[in-house]
Symmetry: C2
Amino acid sequence: MTKCTLHPLPSYLPSSGSSLKRTQRLAARPNSVTCGVMELQFNVSSARISRLDRSKVHLVYASWPRLAEEGARVAVEIPSKEYTRAVYIGMGGSASAGDIISDWLKSRRGPKLEVEKGTFQHSGMRGALVLACSASGNTSETIEGAKSALQRGATLVSICSGGRLEEFARKNGLYVVKIPRGSAPRYSLPHLLYSALKVLGKAFEINGLEEEVDDSLRALRETRTEIEVSTPIGRNPSKRLAASILNSVPKIYGSTVTRGVAFRFKNALNENAKKHAFADSTPELFHNEIEAWDGDSKGFTPVFLRHSREPHNEGRRIDSMIRMLRASRVKTVEERGSGETPLGELSTLTYLLDFASYYVAIASGSDPYPTPLLDVLKRGAD
Amino acid sequence: MTKCTLHPLPSYLPSSGSSLKRTQRLAARPNSVTCGVMELQFNVSSARISRLDRSKVHLVYASWPRLAEEGARVAVEIPSKEYTRAVYIGMGGSASAGDIISDWLKSRRGPKLEVEKGTFQHSGMRGALVLACSASGNTSETIEGAKSALQRGATLVSICSGGRLEEFARKNGLYVVKIPRGSAPRYSLPHLLYSALKVLGKAFEINGLEEEVDDSLRALRETRTEIEVSTPIGRNPSKRLAASILNSVPKIYGSTVTRGVAFRFKNALNENAKKHAFADSTPELFHNEIEAWDGDSKGFTPVFLRHSREPHNEGRRIDSMIRMLRASRVKTVEERGSGETPLGELSTLTYLLDFASYYVAIASGSDPYPTPLLDVLKRGAD
């Protein structure tokens, strides 16, 4: 393998133009011969889709704007109290909604949403609002966490499609936000995300929440036409991203605002495309991860997830890192959402990336729906 | 590339024997011809070490048991109060100490240590003990976090070798635990880990802390003779681990107890060996990451970090995952520490892995000390 040692900071290279909106950046890329070649090499034809996608996952993805609207319209009733803390319990796909909301709230300085995956270890839960989220309603870690939070005096709200979590909540007279059962838990992200936002909006003062939700719903509808299966690769950012990582291992880099989106994309590649992928985020990655690029980096593609609200320092360092990588002939990829608001940007970016993971599955010849290994382990434990 | 599709759970394979202690497991592996071949292929001769390791990093690693003792003996004075919360602020190598302690405390059910990397976003800091740790004393994110915690009413204790963090603390009449300046921040882990434990032991009731510290100091000394450069590969678990991941991309899997150690190993491989590596932990990885192994997995080696106190459910699922991987002819690696106590196991495991990252650096022809890319980005921001 070639060793691509990096040469720090060549000043002659132009900046990565991170301040441009995604739509402007797309317009700047000509729908050229390269795209044609890419389209030929990157086979996601409708014939191939019908053959591989036996559960019609692409239709589920096409319905995401509608699922988001349903989530945003869900009826929510929770005890009106002075909450001092917000905690989100979830695993896998259900954790992603919490991660994304947590980052979004962090970028606007509060309230803090603590996301707990795995063993619940909190004290001081009086005054806490705890959201226990499990799309299936049967995630054992989430149910354990919910029980533990309740015992410690938290106000518990469950978001689920049924299962043992609903049973437990109903038995204890607790609040349940019921979402429809999706084809697989990971595809329920819009329901979870927007209903969790609604719960948080009832419990805490979040300025501008409604405007951001409205903008993101509008932006998701627009994004759908850009990324769905009928849009050719030249105008389809999800297909283009998929083509650019198909034959390499993506290293997905978020910032403080896009950390959760980065981990979601990694997970979507694992589950939909059965592909190894890696996620990390700034500023922490500048303290260790970056140094890996000074060694043998053949076969890896860095994918940077940008956002207009990424902290200024982080943005500046990401730009420097991209320049260093390009100077060493590492092909870098940058993606960003297209909404007018921070939440709109985050939700459309997530949508673009999830659909990209779908295209990677199809192009590499696998059905995106089944997750046999995960199912075996789950069956063993539940 | 070959596609290694996994076949779930072949019942004929023996269990991975996770209940065995590392020393027992080592004894079971014959110092056979394989090791001889491995030794020949895996060049970490003393001539090569003197040529590549210009800063004599191996001597720093050999001194880790002594650094740990110094850390454990450090004088600590903090205000005696009823603390309600413990928060650890740090980045990179300094964050690792917090992660490891946090996992250790979690495995023995408290007190909880919250580890903050990046932007500090806490409210309710009255009653909180905040440890701001930066080996260099100049980590900007940590200094910002320390200021923010102080403003919000926390009791602040800084652990550093000097720098702007010490300056800030002294100016405000705050408590500083001074550690010696190491050759590079990441090699100061033992100092940080044991002095942070000492601070936490002063502030909170932690049963058996002293016994665990004593055991881990003893175990670190024993481990040194097993893993140092003069011990040949047949008897040296660090060299053996290095040889087994040298030509592949390690996917390092921790459990709830070894999560922090897994991320530390990833970081050590990034910084010492300039190598791409992945870290993740159970139970979350069972919800997505595992599915990646159903696709093209050539070139990846899973490394499982075991621990006698890993939650029973997680251990059982890790064993299943290992059986599934082996049945698909994926070479799996398991590592564990050798102490008699949970802390001893964690510290010796970390030591073994850090030394392995050193051997990967030497075997792949790079000087483990310099971190040019990281330095450029740091210079740009501080």
